[in-house]
Assembly symmetry: D2
Homo-oligomer: 295 residues x 4
């Protein structure tokens, strides 16, 4: 796999649009281009280098162009999330990634704006009706290099303790194209395999291993420089690909790039995700009320 992408949509572009066992639909709503890709079996998954399951891709106008998405667009995104969630019960939100690396801060920044409600109990809560809110717990998992704990271990222990009905994991993704950064949102129900490989005993978190839905939400924020180069030459030639790779990464280290406007992109994308998740979890509240609770 010479070209890296975390987007199932791009994997399909790259590895074949008519693979058997893959269903594909498109739709347009509120100026969002929605793609639903379903990988029905493991063989199709291997061909696309992706886990079996459903991937929803939402292509929006560039997030950095507007201050805030219109409410109608938030509602469309929320609805896609809600479809993958159980109708009630505790939801655990996990913000994955590193707060100190701007393009990797999407997870913790989004999590920081999602309303935790699991602890709201007691007389005041019942008097104000706050105890009727769906219970939500929120964590930022940090990264293994800073915690010494794998994201999987960490979430697994917490899940055992607080017993959620579903997990939503938010993380920054890699795309093959600069033009997809900051205007694409992927929602999937295929679980998490966190970390780019610290040893090989990584804990995979999926509906199969946990018995509850594990929903991933991500926005691409980075592109590998060599993927960019290979894409430009549009080549399948492995020798040329290798050569391009070594031109782009003269030191042998893979260069990964992000747009100059990454700070703004992360701010906008994390607010969009947090607001959409909050509305998916509390559809009885007004979006304006959710917003004022978030700050």
């Amino acid at each position: 796999m010479e070209r890296r992408t975390d987007l199932a949509l791009e994997a399909r572009e790259l590895f074949g649009e008519d693979i058997k066992g893959v269903a594909f639909e498109e739709e347009e709503r509120e100026n969002i281009h929605i793609t639903r890709l379903k990988i029905k079996n493991d063989q199709a998954g291997r061909q696309l280098n992706k886990e079996k399951g459903t991937y929803i891709t939402l292509e929006l106008p560039p997030l950095t162009d507007s201050f805030r998405e219109p409410d109608e667009r938030i509602k469309v995104i929320s609805e896609e999330i809600r479809k993958l969630l159980p109708v009630n019960g505790l939801v655990l939100i996990a913000g994955l990634g590193n707060m100190e690396i701007t393009p990797d801060a999407l997870g913790p920044k989004s999590a920081g704006r999602i309303l935790a409600t699991r602890h709201i109990k007691g007389d005041i809560a019942s008097a104000t009706g706050l105890d009727k809110l769906r219970p939500v717990a929120v964590v930022a998992t940090g990264v293994t290099g800073k915690t010494g704990i794998e994201t999987g271990e960490y979430l697994m222990s917490l899940i055992k303790k607080i017993k959620p009905n579903a997990v939503i994991a938010i993380d920054a993704l890699a795309s093959r194209r600069l033009s997809r950064l900051g205007c694409t949102l992927q929602i999937s129900n295929t679980g998490i395999s966190p970390g780019a490989g610290v040893g090989n005993n990584r804990t995979k978190l999926t509906q199969e291993t946990l018995g509850i839905p594990v929903i991933g939400i991500g926005v691409p924020t980075v592109v590998e420089a060599s993927t960019l180069a290979i894409d430009l030459f549009d080549t399948e030639d492995i020798r040329l690909s290798r050569k391009l790779r070594s031109m782009v990464n003269p030191s042998g280290r893979q260069m990964v790039v992000t747009p100059k406007e990454i700070d703004l992109l992360i701010n906008r994308a994390s607010e969009l995700i947090a607001l959409s998740v909050n509305y998916a979890l509390h559809p009885d509240l007004a979006i304006s009320d959710l917003l004022s609770l978030m700050y």
Copy 2:
């Protein structure tokens, strides 16, 4: 208890210097005034409003006066921490408090500079000798209002999973005196009872409940305004205390204050704690090497 303090040293000043069942020693090393206070039984503990156990208070020159403490002072602090730790095995570091509230950010800021080593395994690690480092895991627990999870629940589930030999919890403290802020460090082995009371089912983490040492490290960063007032009048008169309290807190809400220089204080104190803990855990490394790994 009209006057609030998290420092055992101040509790002794306030509630009696000759309570039975309390041992007290003082020492001077490297310009640090060290006080060792041992509460030997529950009755003495109730009189001082503190848990049974050992409290070591280190009074230093103001942290904001110098760029960095001299190495010799770091060594004195490290030694006090090391005395309370088991000689080997995994240590879990927990940074308690809220990163977004400067005077409460001591825990997460310190934790952010403590070296996690538990995950360092494999060929490269053994070739470089890094796998010989004492295993350390590090988490910032966040605050219940933002996570929906109590610090106790959170740590308990993680302890069950990764089975450390000891826990070190770092947190900001309240003092009765402005003059103690930013120049006092308390180290105790009396466990953690986190949160100022979200419900009454708080999980207490102590050596008794967990079977492993639970070491607390803290620096006072705040003072209650009413404690300040009552101290000024040096009064035991409860009516006067109440009146002062209502003068200082006209809205009925307790005002808690922190020095204007709190940003600098937190930066200096968190580096001091992180460096001392790192050296306590890895005494074979040079302090200068630890420092360069921290940034």
Copy 3:
């Protein structure tokens, strides 16, 4: 002057409510208590330890209690600012203070959200009507200890170059009371004498020296600990005041305190000021449009 305050309202409380040459009015609008204090001559100024001129104090509900002030309240504040401004022409906004010291960051944080428009020129601007906006320039002056330049020198040189019709300087203030922090806004037309005294050649910026209005906007964020103490004892006795001062500041250094919630207070107050100033300068724009331009 044993008790320090930057609020003219408090100076009047402390030094006399019936000084000759001082006019005083009160008004209530949109749940804001508005006080207008006019010091008519230098003698009255000396008695109150304040410059001659007009001081408007707005007492609001605690800023940290709500997410954002209602539009009607923004309009009241804007109107008070607008009354002191010339009807048209360039306005220079100066954010005074130190971004790295949270309680002193009000000036630069507010300035960071005020819309600069002076540079908007050319075909696109005239096609979109943006060139019709009132010209505004915005600077954060930094602090002398970090720049080597006095705020007065700095502003004076800029004023000479860009020739504004008025200056608005935003700065954090000291109050005598904790209860005034974060719910009081002072607007004055009495100029700026920046810096607590680096040498004695400080440049004073006033309408007299500059020939243009110099408007100050501030929110109290700190209280001197000794002022707090002397206030509690409500004493005029200088010996007792001295004793209290030395009790509160045992090291001889003046302790200045700020509330534990200072981060939130600064965020809310700087947004309030920025939005009010933006609306005062561009009354034809909707408040919601101004808000989206600010982020």
Copy 4:
């Protein structure tokens, strides 16, 4: 000019290595590859698309690989800066760029660590010898879009007021190659033409217009995506270049990219520049003392 670079070294690579009127020397010191390029006349300048004058390029090991450069390397860089400075008198340091855009924050971040000394006067200063330090003033100019003031106007007015003997302007640069980001430092004496063109009345600041040396210091932090693409194809063909440009920038907007590790890169590079400038200005102080004054 289809390929954009701010490095004179790269301009020479691109537009010709044997242009008349260009002198070129190389040297190796302390593991730094030093290149000295002198553009002797305007004609050569036009061919290289660069101002007449001296450009020194220092190629270092990747800044993100080590915690801090060794002292000997700092001394080499300082010496290159010192050669371009007058032997004494006030120096004005200007940090150019936008603090809120990480890859553009090099200027303000570096400036924030440079010691301002111009204001240090009086008895204490002369007793401690601090008044013997070379006078230095430091400003972060902000960006026109946020201030409404052009960098040139701003610096010009300040220079008129404080009359420095030299200006050092620090700014982030664009390179043609990813591999040059974060390991290259350019020092020049060719002045500043700030801003990518807000109108055409930009103030150029050069030794000619100001009568004092204007030294630029920069580190490349970004690359244009289309420059990257054209470089990969190594083409002079303008049609192909145009095609590549449109493939890389499908929306018509120029994409500019930065490495994923940009936060760390900016931290390291700004400390390196600040320390080198501080040592160039105060060669009698020890590097370790300068470092502790910087934090």
